[in-house]
Symmetry: C2
Subunit: 294 residues, 2 copies
């Protein structure tokens, strides 16, 4: 039993400079718990990846997803953040073709989460509104994958809050008394009943005030999926690391991480922000529960 004993854990972050199509071959089979990535969208980041044309996107990505399928654990998950561009007035179909292609490759297309961007970039076009959402495609190797739903529970809606107001007032009084009579347990029971599971729509604002560089997504986005699909000490991989948002999120959550980046500029930037090895002493009940659940 580990409760009230200390447990040391070493968390590593590995950075790799190069094209993930090649560098992924270094990684061992079945060694990654979560792949979270946002690859360059078609026709964007032309300077780095040569601007993949929409009609060539699937052909370009399939060899990479083949490697990801190899390195992912059978219980692991691949979350792909992607959104098709508007080309000549139409939404491109390469994302749909990619899903169909990856299914032929052996992936299961388990779910499609929606990231609702609350404060997306303003703009006005005569025949189109602002694009305020992106796809977060969940792929798996098998139908049995790890998912830790309790870690991302959210407070109940306004409806319940107003109706349970009476209960909560009573509860506050007892909490203030702090008489150690076991009311703490009651409080947490009450809290449990006021937390509900989220849906497959994730509401997050985009980060608009970055110091040096612009990240494709806010840190909270990978954090949500890292908490949902991994435990402390697990391995998170981002083959299109960019400014390193996924790795920073993984490190803050005490997960091992591997990042691959083709641009030396980004690589060095992340290198200067990430500690390659961190040591932690776990001794709280939360960690005990996390470890024993595994």
């Amino acid at each position: 039993m580990l409760y009230n004993h200390g447990v040391y854990m070493e968390i590593k972050a590995e950075l790799i400079l190069g094209d993930c199509k090649d560098k992924l071959k270094r990684l061992e089979d079945n060694s990654v718990d979560l792949v979270f990535t946002s690859p360059p969208y078609a026709d964007s980041r032309k300077n780095t990846y040569g601007g993949i044309k929409p009609e060539e996107y699937v052909e370009w990505f399939i060899p990479i997803s083949e490697q990801l399928l190899r390195v992912l654990k059978p219980t692991g998950t691949f979350v792909l953040n992607i959104k098709e561009k508007v080309v000549d007035g139409e939404r491109s179909t390469y994302v749909m073709e990619l899903i169909l292609g990856m299914r032929r490759q052996g992936w299961l297309w388990t779910e499609e989460f929606i990231w609702h961007k609350k404060n997306c970039y303003p703009g006005k076009w005569p025949n189109r509104f602002r694009d305020a959402w992106e796809r977060l495609l969940q792929f798996n190797k098998s139908k049995k994958f790890d998912m830790y739903q309790e870690t991302v529970m959210v407070p109940m809606g306004d409806w319940a809050r107003s109706r349970l107001r009476n209960l909560s007032e009573t509860d506050k009084i007892r909490d203030n008394a702090r008489n150690g009579s076991g009311f703490g347990k009651n409080v947490s029971n009450w809290l449990d009943k006021n937390m509900v599971y989220p849906t497959n729509v994730v509401h997050l604002a985009t980060e608009c005030s970055n110091k040096n560089h612009s990240a494709a997504f806010p840190k909270e986005l990978p954090k949500w999926f890292i908490k949902l699909f991994t435990q402390e000490g697990d391995v998170v991989l981002d083959p299109f690391m960019g400014s390193g948002t996924t790795l920073i999120a993984a490190q803050e959550l005490k997960r091992n991480s591997i990042g691959i980046e083709i641009l030396p500029e980004y690589y060095r930037m992340v290198e200067s922000e990430i500690k390659p090895v961190s040591c932690y002493l776990f001794e709280d009940q939360g960690s005990y529960e996390t470890l024993s659940a595994k």
Copy 2:
């Protein structure tokens, strides 16, 4: 100049009993401004619609969308409300295949709106969260289509919404008094400056406690798209009428409407709720602006 003059308009609602695959052939080429519909999803509503299998869905729908392509005006829009269900742990791919099929048929896939359902169906599963969104696929015949963005503008933020509530209460009182002091104009001026264009994410709750029948979507959903893509006097078509939500929305917004329904039960229910012909006298400024914009 039409201001302060009266303009009469006759709004018709036409109900057709039968299979839309056949009945659509009656409609004239290029005669519809907006198709808004929510066909039975694959394997759902078995008791009413027989439950089309996912693998047969595209084959079943393509002849219908062919007719819709024929009857739609070149400047018109087709909005398709649909969502794939989970089959054996995976999301079905028939919606993506349908989009690809309709593009081959000649449709332009212009945009995908997200309907975020605030009160989605409850449930808890080990590997999945509740599904809280549906697709609203926008298809067009040509890149030049009518869109009236100003009609769906929203208050800028929460602060604006709360202030708007107070104003609108005041406004109601004044409206009831009918004193013609021009206060309404002031309100609309103030609103204009505090209204912004919406995004492609629509937030609406489903209507779940209907007395007689259940509608697939809240009336506000077709209303939003009817206002966005048509003007008063235009023609709205719903080939899968169901309980008639689209037609009721169209009638309330003074649009002509055509509804096709295969089930006599639903047909008669809508027949009893919808007036076949309504006459309106337009004389307020709002209508003046709408007409002159045309």
